[in-house]
Structures are given as structure tokens and as C-alpha cells.
């Protein structure tokens, strides 16, 4: 069954997407704003992350305590997340509570107070989270890898910032970030669940249509520079039991004509069944790792195609060599028809599973709206995957999977010189 959501544009430009489901007596509310970490000012990385933590801690109409009581008293959940380009506000409530929770969500989006005490408490939470990341080999490896792969691009910055940049953010900076980037233009309201779609549109108009803030500036998308050499770095963490390997190349933009070929190719490389070709080699045949997989992060600009594996320190060189070998093999010989057909069948067949829950549908609709994929994207998606040919997949594999231009970071109980994996 096609999703066929109701799509309306409010007078101030906000797009409302509503989809009725009757699976459970609950509703998912998802508001997406173009206010992610990409918009952090230089030197104040972590601003969007701190805004996300403070946003729902008091508004002009409701104190932090009022919001807590309203949510908890109804068993409703509210969370705010700062992604790379989008900041999202997500609420889950029983359908009987939609009328009470929806205006609260709108209030949080439009009228946050950024109370000074709340800012300091949440800054402390964010600094603690940064410290926790510094003790996590996986987080350390990925943060450093992004910096190496995108040395002059905003994608290379840490979304949570550092202790120094988070300390440099004042309450006024948060207010300014909100005033600049929280605007009706670029905002999408998605509601999925046991609630009438027309009622959602009326509630959205009541809650959001009086919001008129102009978006003055939009930073132009920086071009991504392709690395010309292989770079490698080691972060010895000798108190840890296992090393995390992060290995990446520059991927494709979401709008790239090769996106679907890249998606299918990545599935065959590092996802299908238990990690695709990489899983066959590193986990199944060599028994080196509990996890190994690849992920294609196609975004507004070219996000990374990143391979991750956790292995014992003595196995690091062998694991990196195996990744190099598999990538070289794919570049030289390509995938087989069977591999690409299996991945396509899997990706098409998994669509109903992804769209089973309210949260799954809401995330799908928000992504489709953000990337301007069309209201009927769910109906067109199977054919878009199906038309990928073996040649398409192999061409994009050759284009992307070049070990000579990879960035590699190893964090964990491993001290070998970087040349060992370079």
C-alpha cells in the first residue's frame, strides 16, 4: 500500500506531512529544521548540539518543570537531536494526548527561553558526553577520521564540538543560532499515527502559521575536495581491550545520479546478510571481528563511505590489509551479477519493513521532503533500485573504492607506526 500522505504548505512556508495509521493508539510527531551542526560557527562547534539540549528546557509559555510534568504525566516522550544538516524534535504520545502534546512541541520549536541555569547544566552534560567519547575507541576513530577526510570542510568538524569550543558558546550565541536558523522556511512537520490527517493540518496551522521569521542567509555548500593520497593515523589507547578501525573514502551526494548504484554497491560490499563481502572475509572466513560493515552516508554534499571493524590489536594490520584487498578486488573485477541482484532484491523487499512503524514512516517522509524526492517517493523507490545494473554498481565501485585515496584511523591497544596501515 502506498503511503500517500497528506502534504500541505502553510502560508509561512512550513510543509506539513500527515499520515494516518491504526497500528497502535499512538502518534509520532517529527519536526525537522535546517539547523544542524553544519550551521555551527567556526570556533563554536557544538552550538547546534547545545541548542538541542536546551531547546525543550523552558519556553516563553511553559517552564522547564511545566514541560516535564506535562510530558511525564501523559507518558509522552520528547527528544531533540542535532544532526549534520537537520535538527529534529521528536515526540511520541498516546493518540488521546495529541491535542495536548502537539502545541507543546510547537512552543519548544518557536519560543525557547535558553534559561541561563539550564544552559550551564546542559553544557556540563555535553562536556561529559565529549569526555565519554574521548574514552571510546570507536568515537575517537570516527571523529579523527572525519577530520582527516574533510580537512577543509565542515563535515570534518566534530558535531558535539570540543570542550574548548563548547565553553566558548554563550547563552546569547544560542539565542542567535535559534533566531538565524529556526525559521519556517526549511521546516517540515511530520505527524504519523492514530490521528486524523486533516486535524493535523488544522493543528499545525494553529500552532505554526503565526510564526513569521525570515531566513536571511544560507551558507553555500562547500565543495568537497577529493583526497589525492592515502592518510593514516593511530591513536594508542593501551587501556582498551580491542582496537576500532575506521576506514573511509569520499562517497556521493544524495542528489548524485549514481546514488542508487552507490547504495546497492555498498549493500553488496559491507551490509548484505552479515556484512557483505567484508563480513564474509573478515568475520566469517578469518574470524577476526565481531562486527565489520560499511555505510554510505550520502548527504547534501559527498558524505563518507565508511568501513568499521573492531579487532584485537595484533590483528589490525591484517584487517586493514583485508579491507584493502577486498576494495581492490571489487575495483579490478567488479561484483557478480548474483551479488548485485541479491542486494537489489533485499533493498526493495525491505521497504515494507522500514515503513511498518509510525517512527519509521515519519523518518522516511522527513528525509524524502528534505531531499525533495517527492510525495510518492515510496512508490517510485522500488523501481529506482531495480534499474541499477551490474555495470552501474561496478562503475560507482571503481569510482569510489580506491584504497590509495582512503583515510584510515585506528584507535585502541595498538602502537604500530601509521605507515603500517598507510
Amino acid at each position: 500500500m502506498p503511503l500517500n500522505p497528506l502534504r500541505r504548505t502553510l502560508t509561512n512556508g512550513i510543509v506539513v506531512l500527515a499520515k494516518e495509521t491504526r497500528t497502535t493508539p499512538s502518534v509520532t510527531i517529527l519536526v525537522g529544521l535546517r539547523a544542524g551542526a553544519y550551521y555551527d560557527p567556526d570556533g563554536r562547534e557544538g552550538t547546534a548540539a547545545l541548542v538541542a539540549r536546551v531547546l525543550d528546557r523552558g519556553t516563553e509559555l511553559r517552564s522547564a518543570s511545566d514541560i516535564a510534568d506535562e510530558l511525564d504525566g501523559r507518558g509522552a516522550s520528547l527528544s531533540v537531536m542535532a544532526g549534520r544538516h537537520q535538527l529534529t524534535v521528536t515526540a511520541t504520545c498516546l493518540s488521546d494526548d495529541f491535542a495536548a502534546i502537539f502545541p507543546l512541541v510547537a512552543d519548544v520549536v518557536r519560543r525557547p527561553l535558553f534559561d541561563a541555569r539550564e544552559v550551564e547544566n546542559r553544557r556540563s552534560e555535553l562536556r561529559t558526553a565529549i569526555l565519554q567519547d574521548e574514552d571510546d575507541p570507536g568515537a575517537v576513530a570516527v571523529d579523527m577520521l572525519m577530520g582527516r577526510l574533510y580537512p577543509a570542510h565542515r563535515y570534518g568538524r566534530r558535531p558535539r564540538g570540543t570542550a574548548q569550543t563548547v565553553d566558548a558558546i554563550s547563552r546569547e550565541h544560542l539565542v542567535e543560532f535559534h533566531r538565524t536558523w529556526f525559521t519556517p522556511e526549511g521546516t517540515t512537520v511530520v505527524v504519523v499515527g492514530d490521528v486524523d490527517a486533516e486535524l493535523v493540518v488544522r493543528a499545525s496551522a494553529r500552532a505554526f502559521e503565526s510564526w513569521n521569521v525570515t531566513r536571511f542567509t544560507e551558507p553555500s555548500m562547500q565543495p568537497v575536495a577529493q583526497p589525492t593520497t592515502r592518510v593514516a593515523a593511530i591513536v594508542p589507547m593501551m587501556n582498551k581491550a580491542q582496537a576500532d578501525i575506521a576506514y573511509a573514502v569520499i562517497g556521493v551526494r544524495r542528489a548524485d545520479p549514481d546514488y542508487y548504484a552507490g547504495w546497492v554497491m555498498n549493500n553488496a560490499l559491507g551490509q548484505y546478510a552479515l556484512g557483505g563481502r567484508l563480513g564474509d572475509s573478515i568475520r566469517e572466513r578469518q574470524g577476526m571481528a565481531y562486527y565489520v560493515y560499511s555505510n554510505l552516508d550520502a548527504s547534501v554534499a559527498e558524505g563518507p563511505l565508511m568501513i568499521r571493524a573492531g579487532v584485537a590489536g595484533p590483528d589490525v594490520n591484517r584487517a586493514v590489509a583485508s579491507i584493502d584487498h577486498e576494495l581492490t578486488l571489487v575495483r579490478d573485477q567488479g561484483f557478480t551479477t548474483k551479488e548485485i541482484d541479491e542486494s537489489k532484491r533485499y533493498l526493495v523487499g525491505s521497504i515494507p519493513r522500514q515503513l511498518e512503524t509510525d517512527a519509521g514512516i515519519a523518518g522516511f517522509l522527513l528525509s524524502a521532503e528534505f531531499h525533495a524526492l517527492g510525495i510518492d517517493y515510496d512508490e517510485r523507490l522500488p523501481a529506482l533500485i531495480d534499474t541499477v545494473t551490474l555495470d552501474d554498481a561496478n562503475r560507482v565501485a571503481y569510482r569510489l573504492l580506491d584504497p590509495a585515496r582512503a583515510a584510515i584511523v585506528v584507535a585502541g591497544p595498538y602502537r604500530k607506526p601509521a605507515e603500517a596501515v598507510a
Partner: protein, 435 residues
């Protein structure tokens, strides 16, 4: 709030028992063209003897390595070609396997589970290869100071009951166990009279039961299994675990012995957990999907809103034997474990001394009811919940959750707080980082 809409979410389940003892639970859900099959075995890490800790988990891994009719090279893709996903997990009371895929795959899913029950191969080379994978999983866990702390707090809390050892096992056991140890464990516990098959989704109950009989009917019943008889004696005094290790962040834990799910005190304890840290639900598989509503909870206001901790929470999972109620906190940068502990234990003491009031009871009852809805928003989750409760108790405990929650009284809650949240009954854990 309308009561009826939540109560309409309570599932209608058909129970059947085959001649070989296999219990089958079927629930029709026709909202999407999907079906989920879970096969549950009443065997977990509590059923492991000395030298064999981790055997249940390793056996779970081996049961993805091919069967007599599904050669190793045909495992890959067997469900993926239906757009499906498959997985499994092992915990203290249970080992379970699942497939969720389009309804057209239902016969394939049943075939896989029937093969898994009776025809896994345990090739020696595969056993050895998987040993290093499991050691990698174990070492990966050791990278996380919170996991390290949890394992030691749990081990310290139990003296007698096998809940004391981690599901993944102790490293020395994983290094030394043999292929035959694995195979004997498999042969002993993977029998229809020790299993529950759960099917939820876009299926016709009568038709799917015919297919179940076709795939599973000829598998012979196994011997009656000996069950764990160990009873953990009352903890005589407070215990403490104190790590001083390299790290960046301090973590705090408390673990109180609490009753099994079948005990009348379990449900009152859910209310106490919700009052202290917010209702976090009873779905071990995917309960994290919807964050806990906890900002007005006692501990959140006491340590997070005051800046002492960056996060706080509780965990009370239903189990077959009496297990633990955990409280946890991440100490905020610049704050101390001592300060967090003093405030958290002060709040625990307050709920014991003063009890809860009717208004708070009503609030957390609403939270628990909402979690019941959120925890079952897919065929995969509904099937999980039915199988989970059947394996540790009876599936009706799950379907009767709403009336059970409605029947809990303030007196029962306050009595449970006094009975279980005592000094002697707790084990405290500190992870103190050294730079």
C-alpha cells in the same frame, strides 16, 4: 485519557501445543504484509555450569552456521531475498532467534527454525573460527567501562545463583571450551519440549499452524530437563565494587535483589522504578526506541537537574528467578561519585520512609500503560514480547499487563519499597577514572 483505546491494543493470541511438546503462539496482525517468527528456548546463561560459562551464547552463534538442509554457503541470503532481517540473542533465561520478512516468506522462516532446532552442523573449523569472533565481542565489551562495572556489580550481588556470571561468559571458559561442549549443550536444550514458537503478522492462523505441524511435527521430544535449583540467600550486608582505572568519566551503580516476574511484588516494583527514574518499559529487544519520559522523576530532578550527573536511570527487567533492580548514573564532569551516591541513596531512602502519594502513583501508572503501547508497535516487537514472557513465566503475563498495572495499590508499592530498597540488600559500584 480514553482507557479503551489502550486496552484495544491488547493482543488476541491462539496457543497450540504439538505432540512433541512444542508450544506455538500465533497472533494475526494485518496492518502490513509482514510476518515475524521467533523461536525461543528455555536456556540461558543461568543454565551453565563451571567451565562452561558463555556456552549458550556461543551455541547461539553456531546456530547460524548452516544445517543439514541449509549448507553453510546458502545461509547468506536465505531471508534477505525476501527483504527480511534475522537475528538472535542470548540472556540469562533465554536464547531466541527471529526472522521478520514479507508474509510470502513464512514457510521459509518456519523451515529455518525447524532446521535450527534439529539439524545444525557444528563443523569443528566453524567452532574455532567463531571462538575468535566471540572473544572479539567480549573484548569489545571490555572497551566500555560501564559494561565492565555492570558485570562486576552483578557478580558481586550473587553468591549462589548462576545469574552471577555474564552471558558472554568468562574469557578463560570461552578460550577453553570444546566443540563437543557446544554440541552437547545444543543437543540437550534444543528440543521442541523446551521451545516456544511465536508467529505474529499477516498470516492465517489455521494455515500457519498446518505449516508449523509440517515443519516441526516430526522432531522428537527431548528428555525432561533439569532446572536450576539454586536459590540466592538473602544478602546479609551491603557490598561494594570500586574500580580505579584509566578513563575519563565516573560511573555509579546500585543493584538491589528483587523478585521474579511471577512474584506478586514484581509489579509494585515497576511503579517504584518509574517514580525514581521514569517508566522505561519491558521490551528488552527494542525498548530504547522511545526515550524514557523521566524529567519529573525523583532521581532526574535530584541529580541531573542539579548538575551532579549527566544521566540517570533505572532498569527492572522481568526474569524467571529473582534478579536485580539496577540504578545507574553518569557523574557530570567536575562532580564526584560520593556526591551522586549520597543524593541518589537519599532519594531511595526518602521513597522508603515517606512512600509514594496517590498522584504520583497515578502518574507512573499512566507512563507504564503508555510504554505498553510503545513497546509493541511492530509485528517483531509483539512477537518478542509474547515469547519473552512465555519463556520466563507465561505469555498471559504480557497480555494481562494493563489490568495488572491497574490493580496495583499504593500500599503494595510502599510495602515493596520498604522490603527491597534496604541497605543490606544492595551492591554499590563505582568506576573512578584515573587519567
Amino acid at each position: 485519557m480514553s482507557v479503551s483505546r489502550v486496552e484495544l491494543a491488547v493482543p488476541v493470541v491462539r496457543e497450540t501445543v504439538l505432540d512433541n511438546g512444542l508450544k506455538v503462539l500465533v497472533q494475526e496482525v494485518h496492518t502490513a504484509s509482514l510476518a515475524s517468527v521467533w523461536c525461543w528456548y528455555k536456556v540461558g546463561s543461568k543454565d551453565e555450569g563451571p567451565g562452561l560459562t558463555g556456552v549458550s551464547h556461543w551455541v547461539e552463534h553456531m546456530n547460524f552456521k548452516g544445517t543439514r538442509q541449509i549448507p553453510r554457503d546458502q545461509v547468506k541470503g536465505i531471508i534477505e531475498q525476501f527483504g527480511g532481517t534475522w537475528n538472535g540473542y542470548t540472556w540469562i533465561d533465554q536464547t531466541t532467534y527471529l526472522e521478520t520478512a514479507s508474509r510470502e516468506a513464512i514457510d521459509r522462516m518456519l523451515f529455518i527454525e525447524a532446521e535450527r532446532m534439529s539439524a545444525c552442523l557444528y563443523e569443528p573449523d566453524d567452532c574455532e573460527s567463531e571462538r575468535t569472533v566471540i572473544i572479539s565481542e567480549l573484548k569489545g565489551g571490555e572497551n566500555d567501562p560501564e559494561q565492565v562495572l555492570d558485570i562486576d556489580v552483578t557478580a558481586a550481588a550473587f553468591r549462589v545463583h548462576p545469574y552471577k556470571h555474564p552471558t558472554i561468559g568468562w574469557l578463560s571458559d570461552v578460550e577453553t571450551m570444546s566443540r563437543d561442549d557446544l554440541y552437547h549443550h545444543y543437543q540437550r536444550y534444543y528440543v521442541p519440549n523446551n521451545a516456544t514458537l511465536v508467529i505474529v503478522g499477516d498470516v492465517d492462523t489455521d494455515e500457519v499452524l498446518r505449516r508449523v505441524a509440517h515443519h516441526f511435527g516430526s522432531i522428537p521430544a527431548g528428555r525432561t530437563l533439569q532446572r536450576v535449583t539454586a536459590i540466592e540467600p538473602p544478602q546479609p550486608a551491603e557490598r561494594r565494587v570500586h574500580f580505579r582505572k584509566e578513563g575519563t568519566t565516573a560511573y555509579w551503580r546500585a543493584a538491589y535483589h528483587v523478585p521474579a516476574v511471577s512474584d506478586a511484588d514484581f509489579f509494585p516494583m515497576l511503579f517504584i522504578d518509574a517514580a525514581l527514574s521514569g517508566a522505561s518499559g519491558l521490551n528488552l529487544w527494542s525498548g530504547h526506541k522511545v526515550p524514557t519520559a523521566q524529567r519529573s522523576a525523583r532521581l532526574y530532578r535530584a541529580v541531573v537537574d542539579t548538575g551532579l550527573a549527566s544521566a540517570v536511570g533505572g532498569s527492572l527487567m522481568p526474569t524467571q528467578d529473582p534478579f536485580l533492580y539496577y540504578l545507574w548514573a553518569t557523574v557530570a564532569e567536575g562532580q564526584t561519585l560520593r556526591a551522586v551516591e549520597d543524593v541518589v541513596l537519599g532519594e531511595v531512602d526518602r521513597i522508603v520512609r515517606e512512600g509514594m502519594a496517590e498522584a504520583e502513583l497515578a502518574k507512573v501508572r499512566t507512563q507504564l500503560r503508555a510504554r505498553f503501547v510503545y513497546d509493541a508497535d511492530s509485528v517483531t516487537d509483539i512477537a518478542h514480547q509474547l515469547g519473552y514472557f512465555e519463556t520466563i513465566d507465561r505469555w498471559q503475563t504480557y497480555t494481562e499487563l494493563i489490568p495488572r498495572l491497574a490493580s496495583v495499590t499504593l500500599d503494595q508499592v510502599n510495602a515493596a519499597a520498604r522490603r527491597y530498597l534496604t541497605v543490606d540488600n544492595r551492591t554499590l559500584g563505582w568506576f573512578e577514572p584515573c587519567r
